[in-house]
């Protein structure tokens, strides 16, 4: 490891729970429905995180527990059956129903696995029911996707064919681009998980090689490994270097000739570095502070330091999975302060004290920090935007330089100081 300093902190946190992942998962798999079994808070969280409310018929909803559901679990089971049947009757296009556990459903010990099993036995019409937890007492933000994917692993058919499996939701355009590039390298059999249709679940077997596209899929990775797949060790595909390392891991594993890899990837790298240059100029030497939220913090810090020249003050992460982050930690500079967990008040104190040029944070904290004169970038935008891959490196850097650029436009005085 590159000598990062790992610290732990606990206290009041300011992090979304795993339910939030539904916001992008439902868009990824349009034939699936995500039914949270929870409270009005859970319903309100998802619609607030999703921001807009333009859906005629959204593909997510909440079965809101009421007083009498709490009084008797037997009734709660019957009620849930009723809600599911009503829903499916109204929405015949649903192929996969995710029952998503929440804090209340977990505290009252509503066993959604059993409910799913029972519903699978009784439902006709080719709807599959799976379950996972997105509760805030168990999961943070992006971990919800880990749970959802892990729940799909048992449905993966077995196959002995050699294939490359990309795991983690990517923007469709980015995913297509990766597939094209792998094809150019001669890796023809490339599948994605989650698939674009929930029924289109890729097969798995001992000759499946997994590239994790997102850093928050620890449980899914373990489940895939248990199915015999090989998890390739690589940094995550953010920035030129991360994406190169990521693709290289696949290339090596598939025996792609070095010369072919270089001739395919090198022109992209040269182009991307050139595109990065103006942003590097803006970001270089600037102080960066990342609050814990999306779990992308460590790979982002690596990119912004290594390729954009930013100075890392602190890299927060909701939790640290050493195995998943090993490659990334290696690439961080000596002494990088990595803080696992959170005490939001103390963290804000440190921000005020160290006056970073840019803070990556959640939506609840962005405007208050801006009001204190500190530029911010919302982390939630990073999970919605096409940011992965060599070709996207400049776009990714632009996301971070825009707030600084804007600040300069609005504060000519600041401009002369820097």
């Amino acid at each position: 490891m590159g000598g990062a300093t790992l610290l732990k902190e606990s206290g009041p946190r300011e992090v979304f729970c795993g339910l939030t992942s539904i916001v992008w998962l439902h868009r990824r798999m349009p034939d699936a429905f995500f039914l949270v079994v929870g409270s009005r808070t859970c319903a309100h969280l998802i619609q607030s995180a999703a921001g807009v409310m333009i859906f005629a018929e959204p593909r997510f909803g909440t079965a809101i527990l009421e007083e009498r559901d709490l009084a008797g679990l037997a009734d709660a089971h019957d009620e849930l059956d009723r809600v599911v049947k009503d829903l499916l009757a109204r929405r015949p296009e649903i192929r996969t129903l995710f029952l998503v556990g929440s804090c209340p459903s977990e505290v009252i010990k509503l066993d959604l696995a059993r409910v799913a099993e029972r519903l699978n036995g009784s439902l006709t019409g080719g709807v599959r029911v799976v379950n996972y937890s997105g509760s805030g007492i168990e999961t943070t933000f992006t971990q919800g996707e880990d749970g959802a994917l892990k729940a799909l692993v048992p449905l993966m058919p077995e196959s002995n064919e050699e294939q490359l499996l990309l795991v983690g939701t990517l923007a469709n355009s980015v995913e297509d681009r990766f597939i094209t590039l792998f094809n150019r390298l001669g890796i023809k059999n490339v599948a994605s998980f989650p698939p674009r249709q929930s029924t289109d679940i890729p097969p798995i077997g001992p000759r499946t090689k997994v590239l994790l596209a997102q850093p928050y899929l620890g449980d899914t990775a373990r489940a895939l490994k248990d199915k015999g797949a090989e998890i390739l060790k690589a940094p995550f595909p953010l920035g030129v270097e991360g994406s190169k390392g990521w693709m290289e891991a696949a290339a090596k594993s598939f025996g792609v000739q070095d010369s072919l890899f270089t001739s395919t990837v090198e022109p992209l790298i040269i182009r991307a570095r050139k595109a990065l240059e103006p942003f590097r100029e803006k970001l270089s030497g600037k102080l960066l502070f990342l609050l814990p939220e999306s779990q992308l913090e460590i790979p982002l810090a690596r990119f912004l330091h290594q390729e954009c020249g930013m100075k890392l003050i602190e890299v927060g992460t909701p939790y640290l999975n050493r195995e998943m982050m090993n490659e990334e930690l290696e690439l961080l500079p000596e002494g990088t302060r990595i803080v696992e967990g959170q005490h939001v008040e103390k963290q804000l104190d440190r921000i005020r004290q160290e006056q970073p040029d840019l803070v990556v944070c959640g939506m609840g904290l962005a405007n208050p920090l801006e009001a204190e004169g500190i530029s911010t970038k919302w982390s939630i935008e990073l999970v919605f935007s096409p940011i992965h891959g060599i070709d996207q490196a400049a776009d990714l850097a632009e996301l971070f330089s825009r707030p600084l650029h804007r600040r300069n436009l609005l504060n000519p005085k600041v401009l002369s100081q820097v």
Partner: protein, 523 residues
């Protein structure tokens, strides 16, 4: 268990947050898991607040549940009190903590702090946001005032003997309420012009110390019954302070409000004549240009206060026809029902936006007044819409001064409602002229896919002209006539004509049938 795809109101503890965030020197300890911190963004993003809500979430995790969560809660309380030094502390739970029953309020009360601690019990599985806000405000006021010695007898005309100007409290304005900040300024201005001072505004901008001064006012003004009616009633019962019940939204309601306040204070009410010159709405609505507004069909849905007010303005001040009125607020259902009854329609009380959308489509309005959700539904139906109530979006918190209450509020309302109607008319004209060469490149409608363009959904197509016993057949002549009717009433005309044709036993609908039906329904 209730399937909810989208909810008009958040949970009750979000209501409590609205009260805490509206006030100064108050801190709220919320026993809740980390995900519940999302609620901060309602304030920092929708209201664009430059400060965090004064809330400490205990963010307990599954692994804490085995151990001593009570100690965890106490640790958070101690730290928050030391750090934020509030002069009153609210302590409560969100839905999950309610289930584990740590009693954080009692824990806090047992910690020996020298400050008022309000224990909030907000049942998360049966109540919602507005109720939570109302209850929190009530508990806070009660908690701070319950030990205060009561005046022997409260006389709301005491100002006369005391030789001072009368003074009132404005109760109910809060963050995440609809245009509260500007309403307060407007009402303050209007009352000031009548020689009435403001004693305290609460919760918005008030400190606990201000709450202690509430009984010093002659009367209370209940600006938003959803939030402050229970508090006003309590102050009436315990301090003998009367309160006003009329919400001053619209010219007529503002007149009535002024009359009520004057009477409560023992003053001579201003004449109607005086009031009519204060807002431009009255004259604008009379001006010939507004003939166009006559009988416009309007569908109204929102919180109770704004929906009821909108119905009155629509009918009495703009000459619209109210074809739908409803609320998502269970607490206000009774009031909305009686308002609807007076209009000869049935109120829609629901928390399900799809039901609202269906009722909207059925009512075939020309203008929708609703929340952000109705704006989206109306867009899908190609009907113009103005937002009159929460839940709202960031664009409903305008930078400019734009109250709903008082004279200026009436001006804002005239503009906000008539503008989308005019845009709707424009869309129709564009639709009519779309075959002209200026438009051949396609016109992007601000009303979504259906605005402007002839709305194919409202025209009978092949599949629904299939002959059966029930459905009369549209001849091509009938269809051509129907297509000439403005898109925003076409659905209604089509249904009426089919109804008429069935009643009259006519199998084919041609242009004459359309005219017959029109005459029939006019008669």
């Amino acid at each position: 268990m209730e399937l909810t795809l989208w909810t008009y109101e958040g949970p009750p503890h979000v209501g409590a947050m609205r009260i805490a965030s509206s006030m100064k020197d108050v801190h709220y300890i919320l026993h809740a898991p980390q995900g519940d911190t999302y609620a901060d963004l309602l304030f920092t993003m929708i209201e664009r607040r430059g400060s965090r809500p004064p809330v400490t979430y205990t963010t307990f995790q599954a692994r804490d549940l085995g151990g001593d969560t009570a100690e965890l809660v106490k640790g958070h309380i101690k730290e928050a009190v030391e750090r934020f030094k509030p002069s009153a502390l609210l302590v409560g739970e969100s839905c999950t903590a309610e289930l584990i029953q740590d009693q954080p309020g009692s824990l806090a009360q047992g910690m020996g702090f020298d400050l008022p601690i309000i224990n909030l019990e907000l049942p998360a599985y049966s109540k919602k946001e507005n109720w939570g806000a109302s209850e929190t405000f009530y508990q806070l006021v009660r908690g701070l005032l319950k030990d205060q010695p009561k005046e022997s007898e409260h006389i709301s005309t005491a100002w006369k003997e005391e030789g001072r100007r009368p003074r009132v409290n404005l109760l109910g304005p809060s963050l995440l309420g609809f245009r509260c900040r500007d309403d307060v300024l407007e009402i303050q201005k209007i009352l000031g012009a009548h020689g009435i001072d403001i004693n305290v505004v609460a919760p918005l901008g008030a400190k606990p110390a201000d709450v202690l001064r509430l009984p010093k006012a002659d009367i209370n003004v209940c600006l938003y019954p959803e939030i402050s009616e229970s508090t006003c009633s309590w102050l009436e019962r315990n301090f003998g302070m009367p309160f006003s019940h009329i919400v001053p939204i619209g010219v007529n309601a503002t007149q009535d409000f002024l009359k009520e306040v004057h009477q409560l204070l023992g003053m001579d009410p201003p004449t109607i004549e005086q009031g009519n010159h204060q807002s431009k709405l009255t004259w604008y609505s009379k001006s010939v240009d507004s003939n166009y507004l006559t009988g416009k069909r309007v569908f109204i849905f929102g919180d109770g206060t704004h929906a009821i007010a909108a119905a009155r303005i629509a009918k009495e001040e703009l000459g619209f026809e109210v074809v739908g009125l409803g609320t998502y607020s269970r607490e206000m259902a009774r009031h909305v029902r009686s308002a609807a009854k007076e209009l000869g329609i049935e109120a829609l009380i629901t928390n399900n936006y799809l039901e609202v959308e269906a009722a909207m489509a059925e009512a075939a309005p020309e203008l929708v007044l609703g929340t952000q959700m109705e704006r989206h539904s109306a867009k899908r139906l190609g009907v113009p819409c103005a937002v009159i109530s929460t839940p709202m979006h960031v664009q409903d918190v305008p930078a400019r001064y734009s109250p709903q209450m008082g004279w200026e509020g009436a001006n804002v309302i005239f503009d906000d409602w008539v503008h989308p109607l005019m845009m709707g008319l424009e869309e129709h004209l564009i639709g009519m002229f779309r075959h002209d060469f200026e438009f051949v490149d396609g016109h992007q409608s601000h009303l979504g896919h259906q605005g402007g363009l002839q709305n194919e959904n409202d025209l009978p197509n092949e599949s629904n002209t299939v002959s059966n016993e029930e459905t009369p057949i549209w001849t091509s002549d009938g269809k051509a006539e129907l297509a000439k009717i403005p898109f925003f009433v076409r659905g209604k005309v089509r249904r009426n004509t089919e109804k008429y044709a069935r009643q009259a036993g006519c199998r084919n609908i041609d242009s004459e049938t359309l005219y017959d039906a029109k005459a029939h329904f006019r008669a």
